[in-house]
Amino acid sequence: MELQEKLTALQTAYNGIYWFVLFILALMLFACLIRAVKGPRIADRIVAVNMMGTMVMVIIAVMSLLLDESYLVDICLIYAMVSFLAVVVLAKVYMGIYEEKRHEIHDRDDVKETGDGK
């Protein structure tokens, strides 16, 4: 009887720490979201999204232990790979957009200069 009570105490302790961690991480996730909305530059936003990805991964890992579903850890692993890919692709895409815009401005200036010359 006494053993059973102590076991339930341990289980409540486990549940308590899981819910506490989930709660704090959810609050920090909102803080990261604010950072992503506020960030003046694109790199700021990507950094904030990367941070959010990390926190969501910890949340998924905690949930897998809380719900006792080990397949959630696989989802966590795939999430890590997808968020890494997202950051690399976004950085490359924005560099490409910047180069394109710069070339456009360059071409327009060239056209203007030749037009003035004529």
């Binding site: 053993l3 102590k6 341990l10 302790a13 486990y14 720490i17 961690v21 704090i24 991480l25 920090m28 803080a31 990261c32 950072r35 960030g39 530059r41 694109i42 790199a43 700021d44 990507i46 950094v47 904030a48 990367n50 941070m51 990390t54 926190m55 991964m57 910890v58 890992a61 905690v62 897998s64 232990l65 080990s70 850890v73 696989d74 966590c76 692993l77 890590a80 790979m81 890494f84 950051v87 690399v88 950085a91 490359k92 924005y94 560099m95 910047y98």
Partner: protein, 136 residues
């Protein structure tokens, strides 16, 4: 055995709370610092140290099975992925920001930097000798 279970819980919870603290410092740093290249520093800390602390805590909770192995795999993957992410983002920032010189010092070629470093060294050396003399 009951005591051992509690010890495991306390060690794991300590690790998990350490990870949470690192995440808190990360969020504080991201709001406190005022430029992307500085903020990246705080963000990378959470990506490596924060997630490894939290997942090591979860590994201790989990015991020895395949879930632990997968969690370790996530940590190792992040150690490789996070520096690459930071490198890509800083390259993006340096190529796209046209007035970068407002935020940090940029040397046009390597010789300028070497000259600067030599100047700093020559300023420092007499100080070092003086301190050594004091010690002797």
């Amino acid at each position: 055995m009951q005591v051992l279970e509690w010890v495991r819980f306390i060690v794991g919870a300590g690790m998990l709370l350490c990870g949470l603290g690192i995440f808190l410092i990360e969020v504080y740093g991201v709001f406190h610092l005022d430029y992307v290249l500085n903020r990246m520093h705080a963000a990378a800390m959470g990506d490596t140290l924060g997630i490894s602390f939290s997942l090591i805590g979860l590994m201790i909770f989990c015991g020895l099975n395949f879930t632990t192995l997968k969690l370790a795999l996530i940590v190792i993957f992040f150690w490789f992925a996070s520096p690459v992410c930071s490198h890509m983002l800083s390259r993006l920032e340096v190529t796209t920001n046209e007035n970068l010189k407002e935020h940090c010092v940029i040397y046009d070629d390597l010789e300028q930097l070497e000259d600067e470093l030599k100047n700093i060294k020559s300023e420092k050396e007499p100080l070092d000798e003086a301190s050594e003399g004091r010690q002797l």
